[in-house]
């Protein structure tokens, strides 16, 4: 289904262009990170890629399959995990049930996903009573259980402490190592250095720069990216 092709993507709301003229092809391979300051349009671009929003200009296309079929082969984890009001295991199984999986298969995949994210012991705990870090790991388990080919992550550690952040990053690396394409937004430079294969640097609703991670951190070409890396660009 990859590469994911974005052609002339624009998104206009409230009389403002929140995104404009985004052309991107996201191919299989190491994680792609959308980097940029708050308000740059990272989350918006992720939602457009995932199909939660429809662009007001341009088109999002998967290669070889239509959007409907592609939907079933991708997953997303949000900045604030959305926990259903049921047990941790039931949160994972819920997504599998929507996909029409049989009960035994749901149970097996749920147990596996909880084990992978270190939540096996908490399977029966109400999801809403888990800590922030545990909730985000549960959200990852729920996404991973779906066996996606592409996993979108929207600032998954933005509200976590360093220890929880480390756990989430370890899980993301594991998922990436299993061959899943990671597309993730962050404003955390350290995280971008730790996880990124390539960087898409967004600034004021436009793609300012796109580069392999090593090259980007060695010397960004655009002025905004340089300012951002030096901690000067706050918008």
């Amino acid at each position: 289904m990859l590469p994911l092709i974005l052609e002339g993507i624009g998104f206009r709301a409230g009389g403002q262009d929140l995104l404009a003229g985004v052309d991107l092809a996201i191919a299989a391979g190491p994680p792609t990170l959308f980097l940029g300051p708050n308000g740059a349009g990272k989350s918006l671009l992720l939602r457009l890629c995932h199909g939660l929003l429809t662009p007001t200009a341009g088109a999002v296309r998967w290669t070889g399959i239509d959007a409907e079929r592609a939907r079933r082969r991708q997953a997303m984890v949000f900045q604030t995990p959305v926990m259903l009001r049921r047990a941790a295991a039931a949160n994972v199984a819920y997504g599998l049930k929507l996909r029409g999986l049989a009960r035994a298969e749901r149970a097996a995949r749920t147990a596996e996903a909880l084990a992978l994210t270190g939540l096996a012991e908490l399977a029966k705990r109400p999801a809403r009573l888990l800590s922030g870090g545990e909730q985000q790991r549960l959200a990852l388990a729920r996404a991973w259980a779906l066996r996606p080919e592409v996993l979108f992550l929207d600032e998954p550690t933005a509200s976590l402490d360093p220890a929880a952040t480390g756990q989430v990053e370890a899980i993301v690396r594991g998922i990436a190592a299993a061959g899943v394409k990671i597309v993730m937004s962050t404003h955390d430079l350290g995280q971008a250095r730790r996880l990124a294969g390539e960087i898409v640097f967004l600034c004021r609703g436009r793609v300012a720069e796109r580069a392999a991670a090593g090259a980007f951190f060695a010397g960004p070409r655009c002025a905004e990216a340089r300012a951002f890396l030096e901690g000067r660009l706050t918008w």
Binding site: R86, A89, A90, A93, Y94, K97, R103, R106, A107
Partner: protein
């Protein structure tokens, strides 16, 4: 694993099944629906009469106790099998229009004027009801009217008209139209220190008299006859004519008459079976007028009134 059930609904569904049990039980034995007035129900008359009737015939009687006007409307719509009400002109109209068959005189009592024990308008010594009302109007003492177009209200308006007083013009001042049943009107009268016209049975059984007293009774104009009418099956085929007739026959027969005559509230007899022989009744009417000027605590004074 996700819970398959919906916990909040579960107990409700269980209770639904429980709830339907009494619904299913209804209608086990034959019954008739009797539309009647609040005075007969509230005084406890039906609680006294109906078990005797049911024991004799096996027919249960379901009483809808509303005002005479509403009872007639229910019957007109076919929602009752038989009526026991107290407004002769309306009853006659009901039969004349073909909604009812067989209007039968059942029993009677009288209306009374009640008011604060101090009797500020001085109605206790009035020679007749019309004079009593004139005194209330002259003193501008509060008067609580049913104001609901019931049988009692209709009689009250006739009395005002006979007294030559436009009470409706004073509505909102001393004349208060409650727009409510007899009990609610009496409750209001007690609370407002107001006079009120009540049927004797409701007054006798009324538990919230406060300092109110029966101040005037005994005028033949205050006679209150009750009639029974079987609803016409030609209008409403589902009417249980045979059962309804059995009820009216019993009510006007020796057993029903004895039961009515034997009913007591606080030691007093609130209802009197209609005299079997009208000539006999007429023969005793001479005893009535002399009592009008006295405070009456008993209906006995006008026991011979019909005729």
């Amino acid at each position: 694993m996700p819970r398959p059930t919906f916990p909040a609904l579960f107990p409700l569904v269980v209770l639904l099944a429980l709830a339907l049990a009494p619904v299913a039980r209804a209608g086990e034995r034959p019954f008739i629906t009797l539309a009647s007035t609040t005075s007969t129900e509230n005084s406890g008359l039906f609680a006294h009469l109906l078990p005797r009737f049911t024991a004799r015939t096996g027919i249960a009687v379901r009483v809808i106790a509303v005002g005479t006007g509403q009872a007639l409307r229910l019957a007109r719509n076919g929602d009752a099998d038989v009526l026991l009400v107290h407004h002769r002109p309306a009853e006659d109209a009901f039969v004349a229009e073909g909604f009812g068959i067989e209007r039968r005189d059942v029993m009677y009592n009288d209306f009374v004027l009640v008011g604060p024990a101090g009797d500020p308008a001085g109605i206790a010594g009035a020679p007749d009801a019309v004079t009593a009302l004139r005194r209330i109007a002259a003193a501008r003492s509060p008067f609580a009217s049913r104001g609901d177009d019931s049988g009692t209200h209709k009689l009250e308006r006739e009395l005002w008209a006979a007294a030559g007083i436009d009470a409706a013009a004073a509505s909102g001042t001393w004349y208060r139209e409650m727009g409510n049943g007899m009990g609610a009107t009496l409750n209001a009268a007690v609370a407002m220190n107001a006079y009120a016209l009540s049927d004797r049975a409701t007054w006798l059984a009324f538990g919230n008299r406060g300092t109110h007293r029966l101040l005037f009774a005994g005028d033949r104009a205050l006679l209150n006859p009750y009639g029974a009418i079987v609803v016409n099956p030609a209008r409403h085929p589902q009417v249980k004519v045979a059962l309804a007739r059995a009820f009216v026959d019993w009510l006007t027969g020796p057993e029903g008459r004895a039961a009515i005559a034997g009913f007591r509230v606080g030691g007093e007899q609130p209802f009197f079976p209609w005299p079997k022989d009208r000539t006999d009744a007429r023969g005793r009417t001479g005893s009535v007028p002399g009592h009008g000027h006295r405070r009456q605590e008993s209906t006995a004074a006008i026991a011979a009134a019909p005729g």
